[in-house]
């Protein structure tokens, strides 16, 4: 530890800490452009110059490590003069773009100029010109005149995303940012560079010229696109989502977002959103009131039950729905419709249900942070880069720190480049090289590697053969029980959809339906189409071969946000609420329950599913008393023992594990 003085305040920090970090620790702001706590040090912008007593020259606070008893001044006249000079130099070639620049109003260059810079320009010559703007990708626009060459974007792509697709080319005054690869700037984390850019050089194509920052109302939310549950800010103007920014929740997302999460918001305010319930009339639909639509659905169910019995009624829900919605969905079919056959869709990822906690008791339940601590990571038939992109960054970071990565899978994936050993050959299914009892290739190849590790993370992807899971679990349990310490192996499943885990928790015990037609059965054992199904309620799900299925059905109701192909063949279509329009919770892949907040209004008369289910129940004369999703969560915590500690207060802004404390490890039991 080193003790030093900064602006007459004493602080003690670890050896090797940079002055800028030591100052930040005691709340002293040192202006900076190129420095970023999560990126390597560059020291190129010269904005963070400070005075160290005894040194003749000013030093950059981001590259100078603290040493014993030094005295640092951040606001001396000498420093102020240097800050003024640095800003003047940066502004010499900066274009007069503030009035048309997206960054205006939240721009560090503006803010520092106002706080530390001169009020008048002494430069009167022609500014440096570049062709602008340049499309780096369909999503990102580069303005080279505005760029101050801090290289944050280059360093992010190189160090964090490990997609070194942009670089600084040319030299000196004429250098600029350029795409380095012929295939272009295709990284699926490219959007982070926009947020990192301290000026308006990198801007978002979808957000460009859409709004000024002070017009935006910022609300917390969750990304609805995968099982990571990254925390986001929704910037809303006039009830329309204008952009999505990262809301740092370190254990979940580390403050980054993938491009799907960052740019996938415009569907919410799309003009073709369903606004009223529709009922079939001949070949087409006519709009109707909720009362009519509800009585149609109830009528359809009643008729089905009279003719074919209650087993003919089914509900099929998407894991995009919130816990509250899914809970009432199941409650309706169980208690009101009298069928035990509501379910959720897995798009064929049947293995998720086949992981039984009892098979692997003692193993640590996977949480994202386990990756940071692991010294070996095993990926089985999964592709985090596609399914849970933010885990991809975590894995890359762990590999960089020295963890070994092993991949078993049927397809070449992006992370293959980071694997420590050649993957199990491409095209080889896990179980295609059966050996003693069908444990497959995995244990044959990797059991030694697992045994050699102190902390190991095993991740099962969506392509894992469900029939293999049981044997794999017992294999891992055997390894674990013979190894060192409780929970040194952590086992997790890469849940593809935002609330797959939640759907499993809310609907567990029910028959699983998958989306390939309406087949059902014990997972992995039966693929027989269920011909008994006659009345179907599908919530937020597209069914691939719906016309074929429709032929077997007497009645089909679809709840969705768009008139999808599935909705098109329905008898009744109900307008749905999107993720930003509901209060509720999602449970992510590590079973962290996090909040969604109602931020925008539903279009027209669209309603969240929990409200629709309540209406349906009321229409059948069942007295449900739910007025908000909070009410539903209260019942969930009473009825589902796993969620007994969950309440909106408990979840807060950072989320809370359903099955344990937020900090400590959790185990399969």
């Amino acid at each position: 530890m080193v003790t030093l003085r900064i602006d007459d305040r004493e602080t003690t920090v670890a050896d090797g800490t940079m002055i800028i970090e030591a100052a930040r620790g005691i709340g002293i702001e040192i202006p900076h452009f190129c420095y970023h706590p999560k990126l390597s040090v560059s020291g190129s912008c010269k904005m963070c110059l400070v005075e160290v007593e005894g040194l003749a020259k000013l030093v950059t606070a981001c590259t100078t490590a603290v040493s014993r008893n030094i005295v640092v001044r951040t606001r001396s006249e000498k420093v102020k003069e240097a800050q003024r000079a640095t800003l003047s130099m940066l502004l010499i070639n900066h274009p007069l773009d503030c009035p048309v620049c997206d960054k205006g109003g939240e721009c560090p260059l503006q803010d520092y100029t106002y706080r530390y810079g001169p009020g008048k320009s002494e430069f009167s010559d022609e500014k440096w010109h570049f062709k602008k703007p340049v499309d780096l990708s369909p999503l990102i626009v580069l303005d080279r005149e505005r760029c101050i060459l801090c290289t944050r974007c280059v360093r992010f792509q190189e160090e964090v995303a490990v997609h070194p697709e942009i670089e600084v080319t040319e030299r000196g005054r004429g250098s600029f940012i350029e795409v380095a690869r012929p295939e272009g700037f295709t990284s699926n984390f490219s959007g982070n560079t926009i947020e990192l850019c301290p000026v308006g050089a990198l801007t978002s194509r979808p957000f460009r010229f859409k709004a000024r920052p002070w017009e935006l109302k910022r609300s917390p939310s969750l990304c609805p696109h995968c099982g990571c549950g990254c925390n986001i800010w929704l910037d809303v103007r006039e009830d329309k989502i204008m952009r999505v920014l990262a809301r740092e929740n370190p254990p979940v997302d580390g403050g980054w977002l993938c491009d799907r999460g960052r740019f996938g918001y415009r569907f919410v305010s799309h003009a073709s959103r369903l606004k009223t319930p529709l009922i079939r009339k001949g070949e087409g639909f006519i709009p109707c009131t909720w009362e009519e639509a509800i009585s149609r659905v109830i009528g359809g169910f009643k008729k089905g039950r009279e003719v074919y019995g209650s087993e003919s009624i089914r509900g099929l829900a998407s894991p995009k729905l919130t816990n509250e919605e899914l809970y009432l969905f199941r409650k309706f079919f169980q208690e009101v419709a009298g069928t035990n056959s509501s379910g959720y869709t897995l798009n064929g990822d049947l293995m998720i249900e086949s992981l039984r906690p009892a098979d692997c008791s003692g193993l640590r339940r996977f949480s994202f942070q386990d990756i940071d601590e692991a010294d070996s990571i095993f990926l089985i038939d999964g592709d985090p880069s596609k399914d849970l992109p933010i885990l991809d960054l975590r894995i890359k970071k762990a590999v960089k720190k020295g963890a070994r990565l092993f991949i078993a899978g049927s397809a070449e994936i992006e992370l293959s480049d980071f694997a420590s050993a050649s993957p199990i050959p491409v095209g080889t299914e896990l179980n295609s090289v059966p050996e003693k009892g069908g444990k497959g290739g995995f244990d044959r190849r990797f059991s030694g590697e697992i045994r050699d590790s102190k902390r190991s993370v095993i991740l099962l992807g969506r392509k894992t053969d469900p029939s293999e899971v049981e044997s794999l679990c017992s294999f891992l349990k055997e390894l674990h029980d013979n190894g060192g310490g409780e929970g040194w192996i952590s086992l997790g499943v890469l849940m593809p959809a935002a609330n797959t885990q939640g759907a499993q928790d809310m609907l567990s015990g029910d028959t699983i339906l998958n989306s390939q037609g309406i087949k059902y059965g014990v997972p992995g054992k039966s693929d027989v189409p269920d011909s008994r199904v006659k009345c179907l309620f599908i919530a937020r799900q597209e069914i691939p071969d719906i016309t074929n299925l429709r032929n077997h059905l007497d009645f089909l109701a679809v709840y969705d946000i768009f008139l999808s192909d599935t909705a098109r063949v329905a008898d009744v279509v109900l307008p749905a609420a999107a993720f930003s329009e509901i209060d509720g919770t999602y449970t992510n892949s590590e079973r962290r329950v996090q909040r969604l907040f109602k931020t925008t209004q539903t279009p027209g008369e669209a309603k969240p599913l929990w409200e629709v289910m309540t209406l349906l129940a009321k229409a059948t004369g069942t007295g449900w008393d739910f007025h908000s999703s909070r009410d539903v969560m209260r019942e969930i915590s009473e009825k589902i023992s796993l969620y007994r500690y969950i309440s909106y207060e408990e979840i807060g802004m950072k989320g809370s594990y359903a099955d344990g404390t937020t900090s400590g490890p959790r185990y399969y039991r």
Partner: protein, 596 residues
């Protein structure tokens, strides 16, 4: 020892435990503003301290300028009641701050020492929910009876309706309903219908018994100068009691101002006393400039004086014209409006608008004067002296006019001071107090002018003072034009003053500063300042508290009309009902200034 220090020493001597904290206010240092000083007084010692200040002949703080509150939620004591007391002899202002806890939001009334605290305390009760035991009439004053909540508390939401533009028209129609519903749910919009029923009138001491009549005059009445309501108890044609009721034009300017940036809040000041908008601009700017420690170029100071005096002319023309009209001399109104139009045209030439010019800005003026402006002001100087004589010809010796104004609405000097009167109303009662002379601001001490004072304290004196003040204004204007120095009209501080337009397409620094000042405003250092100017109606003060952010933490307007209206019951006692019109006219209240 400076006067302010003597005062604090004296308080300490008499009440050793009263002063919990006397900070020689660095913001209000003695050289800049006649040594006003902040003293924090313990709650239970307030009455004693105030009595000492008001009655001790050595101290002589005979005038309560302002009494208001500040809310600091999350802090305890949560509230601060702030009084500005003034010595009219030398203009010294002392700021008393009394912390009040949220668990016991009460404070002993100071109405026995300063009768004018009556309405101020009611306003603090209305806006902050602090009650004043011992107050003769503790009820709401600006908000309607039965209103829930206290609007100037920081946890009370800013209300208002979104303005519809073509871009958000549909959205607003959808949105307005939830807002109203929310307001209702929280009780902010829920009003209990509790007008002045007979029992209420009795509570106010008005009685319709024994041949007395209760007459309701206003708020919609042509001779109440706006939305002023007077509850009058008549005994025959004589007034036995009169109670002014205000608040009908309350628009929450102070609340709104606390949500705007400093440059934006400037535009609200025009709308308080809309007949003296430039005075409002000036007082506000003086307070903010003090906090910012801005030096204003001499040229800008002179032009500020010039504009204010033109504004005074326009305001007095309206005051005289309307008063004459209300007493039956319609032609005077027409003549006055004719001349006022010349000044309105000048303001339009300056800023594009006739009334809400916002031309005096923080740091100087919005812009340099148009080239032809000074020439046009020369025309005013040529035309006006004759015109003023013309009005006098019509009125000053007119027997009907004399009959209606001489000896009517008598107000003694003592009563005037005690009730917080200022401006022509106070000077009409013989108190020679003009802030331009007493505490000169904006270089008023560079100009020669006289302060006319009345002898009889009646309506006529107030009228004749206004006439004479117009002549003095012309005198000042002439001197400004003669002495007007060259130079900039904006302070040399790029962090506050917008850079010149032509730099914006050349220099990045100028562009950034312009962008941020216009969009975000500028931070103003922590502190507080109370600055006053002599508006056509009297002491117009702005009390600004800054928490270091870009928006005023407290945006307080001490409007002269508010206090001046408190003198109505004293002046109208035993008058004829017809004289009420003359009395109101002689006060020249602007209800925007009263209700804000």
């Amino acid at each position: 020892m400076k006067r302010s220090e003597t005062v604090v020493q004296r308080i300490r001597d008499v009440f050793p435990d009263a002063v919990s904290d006397a900070v020689p206010d660095t913001v209000n240092d003695a050289s800049a503003f006649h040594g006003d000083i902040s003293v924090t007084i313990r709650k239970n010692r307030l009455s004693g301290v105030v009595r000492l200040l008001a009655t001790d002949p050595d101290l002589g703080f005979d005038y309560l300028s302002d009494l208001t509150g500040v809310d600091y939620p999350g802090k305890e004591p949560r509230f601060e009641v702030v009084c500005h007391v003034t010595s009219t002899k030398d203009g010294t202002v002392i700021r008393l701050k009394i912390p009040v806890t949220s668990s016991d939001p009460t404070l002993q009334t100071i109405t026995p020492e300063y009768p004018s605290a009556n309405w101020y305390e009611r306003e603090v009760y209305d806006m902050f929910g602090i009650t004043f035991p011992g107050h003769p009439d503790m009820r709401r004053i600006l908000m309607p009876e039965g209103w829930r909540g206290h609007p100037l508390r920081k946890d009370y939401p800013l209300g208002g309706e979104a303005v519809a533009f073509t871009s958000n028209k549909d959205f607003i129609e959808e949105q307005s309903l939830p807002f109203i519903l929310e307001g209702k749910r929280n009780g902010y919009l829920e009003l209990t219908p509790d007008g002045f029923t007979l029992s209420n009138l009795e509570r106010l001491g008005l009685s319709g018994a024994e041949g007395r009549i209760i007459l309701n005059m206003g708020p919609q009445h042509p001779s109440t100068h706006g939305l002023l309501r007077l509850l009058i108890e008549l005994n025959g044609e004589r007034i036995s009691r009169i109670i002014p009721e205000i608040g009908y034009l309350h628009t929450g300017i102070e609340k709104s101002g606390e949500h705007l940036t400093y440059p934006q809040a400037l535009t609200l000041t025009d709308r308080a006393d809309y007949l003296a908008n430039l005075f409002n601009n000036l007082a506000y700017c003086l307070a903010v400039e003090r906090l910012l420690d801005l030096e204003i170029p001499l040229r800008a100071q002179y032009i500020r004086v010039l504009l204010c005096e033109l504004n005074r002319l326009a305001s007095h023309l309206l005051a005289i014209g309307v008063m004459a009209h209300e007493l039956g001399a319609t032609s005077v109104l027409l003549y006055c409006f004719r001349e006022r139009e010349i000044i309105m045209d000048l303001f339009e030439m300056l800023s594009g608008v006739r009334m809400m010019t916002s031309y005096i800005t923080i740091g100087g003026l919005r812009d340099e004067l148009p080239e032809a402006f000074i020439g046009k002001v020369g025309d005013v100087l040529k035309i006006f002296p004759d015109k003023i004589n013309e009005y006098e010809k019509l009125l000053t010796k007119n027997p009907i006019w004399l009959k209606r104004t001489k000896g009517i609405g008598y107000l003694s000097a003592g009563e005037a001071l005690g009730l917080g009167a200022s401006g022509p109303l106070l000077r009409g009662s013989g108190v020679k107090r003009d802030l331009r002379k007493q505490t000169p601001y904006s270089s008023y001490d560079h100009f020669d002018f006289d302060v006319p004072v009345g002898e009889n304290g009646d309506v006529f004196d107030r009228y004749i003072i206004r006439v004479e003040e117009m002549r003095q204004s012309l005198r000042i204007i002439r001197q400004v034009i003669d002495k007007l120095p060259e130079g900039p009209v904006k302070a040399d501080n790029r962090k506050v003053v917008l850079p010149p337009r032509d730099e914006l397409d050349k220099g990045m620094e100028a562009l950034i500063h312009h962008f941020l000042i216009a969009s975000r405003g500028f931070p103003v250092p922590k502190g507080e300042a109370y600055r006053t100017v002599e508006s056509p109606r009297g002491e117009l003060g702005y009390y600004i508290v800054s928490d270091g952010s870009e928006r005023p933490y407290r945006f307080r307007i001490r409007g002269p009309s508010f206090a001046n209206l408190m003198t109505v019951p004293a002046m109208a006692r035993d008058c004829y009902i017809a004289d009420v019109v003359a009395i109101i006219g002689s006060i020249d209240p602007v209800l925007g200034d009263v209700d804000r």
